[in-house]
């Protein structure tokens, strides 16, 4: 046995390195950079970026399709949809629905902010994507990572990587993407509108009943939305019930942290050059951005409509909070209003619209899934 002959064998990894790998490693580094330097959704972009690096080290066996660690985690948590659903349990335990329950009409804003989902679907069809893929791309417009991943896993798992990356990246770009649109579509006077906040007192009983009733109503009408909405509501119920502190804390900590880390790594590990570096990917990223813009525009326009209908009692900015992207969008809206008038506090209204957007996104995702799988004869 000539060991000298082994050396080329040992450098096989380097020999298999492709320009595509280099590009994807650069992409991974950019994601990590955005996460670390600008804190754009770091809990997701950092693991995604790191997973992307791993998937592009040739022969390392760390892609989501391999039999190695990433493959094991992918099969355990993405294929089964466990990770996004567990994340939702944690998110649910962090959401406070009182601002929404105190002003139920705010819920309407959560519907308008979903227009980007369907608008993007149309555009994707125009660009030649088949229906299942177009619908999955549209789901980026939910501006909600778990929903996008859930829909894409069901309809077009081959597009999961770019969709997940777009969903989480754009969620983190809320403070960059939304403000120009807000200024463009609203007048200074509109942005200065102050809003009453005389909320009805929300009883403990209402708080507990809410997640249960929502689960049942949405579940019975849109069965496809049940997994997402029920896990969100389960998390909320764990919190508001006040009797299962242990479980509520587990949902908000160990469960969501572990699921988030593994989800990020495995999503990143799907970004192998061969699978990811296709013209489609760029289109998906562009369409995702558009979805975000369409959501915001629709939300703002609906906000203006509500403002007019209410006789100027509603600040149209809160329409932009109806897109989901909880809680960044809500906070941004409150900040924008304050920029115009330091004494104008609309945080509670914005958070109401924002939680409505979270509900709306999940429902819209489920409806999209229901309609499209019926048409395709899958469901």
């Amino acid at each position: 046995m000539d060991l000298g002959a082994l050396l080329p064998e040992l450098l096989k990894g380097l020999a298999n390195f492709t320009p595509g790998n280099a590009v994807m490693i650069a992409a991974g580094l950019v994601l990590i950079f955005l996460a670390v330097r600008y804190e754009f959704e770091p809990v997701l972009l950092l693991p995604i970026g790191f997973g992307c690096l791993l998937a592009n080290i040739p022969l390392a066996g760390m892609t989501a399709a391999s039999e190695g660690m990433m493959g094991v985690l992918y099969n355990a948590g993405i294929k089964t949809e466990l990770f996004p659903l567990l994340i939702f349990v944690g998110v649910g335990a962090m959401i406070d629905f009182r601002p929404l329950l105190a002003q139920p009409r705010m819920v309407l804003l959560g519907a308008a902010g979903q227009f980007g989902i369907f608008g993007t679907l149309v555009l994707a069809i125009l660009l030649g994507f088949p229906l299942n893929e177009a619908a999955s791309i549209g789901a980026i417009g939910a501006i909600d990572g778990p929903t996008s991943i859930f829909v894409a896993t069901k309809l077009a798992p081959e597009l999961l990587a770019p969709i997940a990356v777009a969903a989480y990246s754009y969620m983190s770009l809320v403070p960059i993407i939304q403000p120009p649109l807000m200024k463009l579509l609203t007048t200074k006077k509109e942005r200065r509108i102050r809003m009453d906040y005389a909320p009805r007192p929300i009883s403990q009983r209402t708080l507990v009943a809410f997640p249960i009733v929502i689960t049942l109503v949405v579940g019975l009408l849109v069965p496809e939305a049940t997994p997402l909405i029920s896990m969100l509501m389960l998390g909320n119920l764990l919190k508001v019930s006040g009797v299962v502190d242990r479980l509520s804390k587990a949902a908000q900590n160990e469960i969501i942290n572990i699921a988030t880390l593994f989800l990020g790594l495995t999503i990143g590990a799907t970004m192998q050059a061969e699978a990811f570096l296709r013209p489609q990917t760029l289109m998906i990223l562009a369409l995702g951005l558009l979805a975000f813009v369409l959501d915001t525009v629709a939300g703002l326009l609906f906000g203006k409509l509500m403002s007019v209908v209410s006789g100027g009692k509603i600040n149209p900015l809160i329409g932009a909070a109806g897109i989901s992207a909880f809680p960044m969008a809500g906070r941004l809206v409150a900040k924008m209003a304050q920029k115009e008038d330091y004494d104008n506090f609309i945080l509670m209204h914005a958070m109401g619209a924002n939680t409505a957007g979270q509900l709306g996104s999940v429902m819209a995702g489920g409806i999209l899934l229901a309609v499209v799988s019926k048409i395709l004869g899958i469901g």
């Binding site: 804190e39 959704e41 770091p42 962090m94 959401i95 406070d96 929404l100 329950l101 139920p104 819920v107 309407l108 959560g110 519907a111 979903q114 989902i117 369907f118 608008g119 679907l121 149309v122 069809i125 030649g128 229906l131 177009a134 969620m171 983190s172 403070p175 102050r194 809003m195 009453d196 906040y197 005389a198 009805r200 007192p201 009883s203 009983r205 209402t206 009943a209 809410f210 929502i214 109503v217 949405v218 009408l221 849109v222 809680p327 960044m328 809500g330 906070r331 104008n344 506090f345 945080l347 509670m348 958070m351 709306g360 429902m363 819209a364 409806i367 999209l368 309609v371 499209v372 048409i375």
Partner: protein
């Protein structure tokens, strides 16, 4: 192709229709929910309805409220600047806000309308 586009437009119409339908249903559910539970605890809200007016604003408690407002703003900005991806829920802020801002907003309302 054209067929597909038509289909996608139909999906959009149907989808947004159902979304709005469901959301409006939710509105009703929420209203019913709060109404039902309010009836059960009728006396308390009744009492509250008798005294919805904020305490008269004197210059002494104005400073305190201004301070509370500043804290709330600082908290909100801080939260925004660090861009928490999985943030602590805004409950704390909400409570602070409710304590300090409710009466304030009411007086603001007057000013805004003027």
């Amino acid at each position: 192709m054209t067929e597909n586009i038509l289909l996608s437009l139909q999906i959009t119409l149907l989808g947004m229709g159902i979304v709005f339908g469901l959301i409006i249903l939710l509105w009703g559910v929420m209203a019913a929910l709060t109404a039902l539970t309010r009836e059960k605890e009728a006396p308390a809200p009744q009492a509250e309805a008798d005294a919805p007016q904020p305490a008269p604003i004197t210059s002494s408690n104005f400073k305190a409220r201004a301070a509370a407002a500043a804290v709330a703003v600082a908290l909100a900005e801080q939260s925004l600047s660090t861009a928490h991806p999985l943030p602590t829920p805004p409950t704390a802020i909400v409570s602070a806000w409710q304590l300090g801002m409710r009466t304030r907003q009411m007086s603001q309302k007057g000013k805004t309308r003027r």
